[in-house]
Amino acid sequence: MRETTTTPVLEARHITRHFGAVVALADASLTLGRGEVLGLVGDNGAGKSTFLKILSGVISASSGEIFADGKLVQLKRAQDAMDAGIETVYQDLALVDTMSAFQNVYLGREELSSNPLARLFNLVDDRKMRSRAREVLDKLAVKIPSIDVSVKGMSGGQRQCLAIARALLWGRRIVILDEPTAALGVRETGQVLDVIRDLRNHDVSVIVVSHNMQQLMSVADRITVMRLGRSIATRSVRDTQVSEIVGLITGAIPGDAEAEAAKLAIPA
């Protein structure tokens, strides 16, 4: 557990998003500290996916501010988020089945050859990419059959680990994981959770969206709860229990702002 005394690596303030008349996100904020794992939870339709998409630049916010390392950033495209050091791992959209593991790891950021003539022809340096990919996978103890074969035959856990390893390899400081263990078996889930814990040891901050409370409690430092398009509460895992989080999600326990309003209401 680390204290978030320094500037947060990522901070989102009062983000909103409308789709026409529909309000998908009414007021969402979060703070992510260095080397921290933050869980993001909420019922279906609470606005988690919209929030994630805004943080990864896939869609843009209607209003609100995002700071990376204390600096205001505009995330209009996926590339903007990547430039800000944010890597998002989607469950289904992560990998190109017809390409090999190391090609997937380097997708969109292929290393060009150092030979000037080869560079002129835009040729890539496969040897370098292969060896660095292998290095990083070893570092995270990710086990895959071969980095040279197509990822199509790989298991869900292997694919997920590969996508996460990609973030580390690219020197990302923030990784967003959307339901990383949803379709995985017990053993594979354990493998993915180990990799997430490992990321923290490499000074990478993580936001994890998950429905599985036990899992979140075991891997996250803090949990931010969303309800009806708002971020309503954030709890340190140390100071909370599954029952409180579930109560916040369902509305059985009021969120921080509501509690505040209630307190103000009583004396009147």
Binding site: D97, M99, E110
Partner: protein, 312 residues
């Protein structure tokens, strides 16, 4: 990966050799330089068009059905430029640029209106043919001009028009899997959402691919009018089926993301040998169409089988 599709390649080679051997046994005079010439002439134009079609397929554009009209438009420009007495290099450049402009226009519609490339190119082919019919009824390169002589010249015993096809297939087949651009095009074809999430622009890729593919059709237009004699707006329609069959047989997946362009040499070579072999077996051209249809169907079935198995 480095030997992607070698199984497909060996199969193609075996089937091709089998066809040659069977025809040669039935009619020994099949194994002649004349046959080699007949096959390699046919192969040249289809081969260059297949590079363009392959680029569209591998990047997830499925098919460019406007190739016949684009080819004729490029050929027409080549004819007009050579009629004006311009140097051969200018003639080639004009045709290639025409093809690229055509591909770019396709991309503008596909990207701008967010439409399915197959439907768009089907429509631009129709529109293009109609527009070409207004532009001309018959065209032919001037007899004795540089391009006309090029269409009849030989180099090392093979048609002069065959060698640029060989060079282009080898170069494109080398570059696509080994360059950043190529790999991103393959990624877009393999899983466009994944590619987009990695910051690869789908629009830019589509523009680049369709424009480049058009350039190859434009060059095929040079080879076409160099050999064709007088042609009219619909003279290239018959090439479409062979080009598509060649791409599929080579294992360049119509669902995108997979394929080795070098195998086009085998698939197009095999497909160009079939009609010649059938003539030696004494079969009429009606049976040729049946054979070509059957081969196309088996190729598509094979492509689907490979896609399900996920063999790279």
């Amino acid at each position: 990966m480095r030997l992607q599709g070698w199984g497909t390649g060996l199969t193609l080679l075996a089937v091709w050799l089998l066809l040659i051997a069977a025809t040669g046994l039935y009619r020994p005079d099949f194994l002649s330089h004349q046959t080699v010439l007949a096959v390699s002439f046919t192969m040249s134009i289809v081969g260059v068009m297949a590079i363009g079609q392959g680029l569209v397929a591998i990047s997830g554009g499925f098919l460019d059905l406007s190739q016949p009209a684009a080819l004729i438009a490029s050929s027409l420009v080549a004819v007009r430029l050579s009629e004006a007495g311009l140097p051969f290099a200018v003639v080639i450049l004009g045709a290639v640029l025409t093809g690229m402009a055509w591909g770019f226009a396709n991309a503008v519609i596909i990207v701008g209106a967010k439409l399915n490339p197959v439907i768009v190119t089907l429509a631009t082919n129709f529109i293009g043919l109609a527009a070409l019919y207004f532009a001309f009824q018959l065209a032919e390169v001037p007899l004795g001009s540089a391009i006309h002589q090029f269409g009849r010249a030989k180099l090392f015993g093979l048609p002069a028009i065959w060698w640029p096809m060989l060079a282009l297939v080898l170069v494109v087949g080398f570059l696509i899997p080994r360059t950043r651009y190529g790999r991103r095009a393959i990624a877009v074809g393999g899983n466009r959402m994944a590619a987009r999430a990695r910051g690869i622009s789908l629009k830019a890729t589509r523009f680049a691919i369709f424009t480049a593919a058009g350039g190859f059709v434009g060059f095929a237009g040079v080879l076409f009018c160099a050999t064709s004699g007088p042609f009219n707006p619909s003279s290239a329609n018959a090439l479409q089926l062979n080009v598509i069959a060649g791409v599929i047989l080579a294992g360049i997946s119509l669902s995108g993301g997979r394929g080795n362009f070098w195998l086009l040499l085998l698939s197009v070579g095999f497909l160009s040998t079939i009609p010649t072999a059938l003539v030696f077996f004494g079969l009429s051209s009606d049976t040729q169409s049946i054979f070509q249809g059957l081969i196309l169907i088996s190729a598509v079935a094979f492509d689907g089988y490979r896609a399900r198995r996920g063999t790279p």
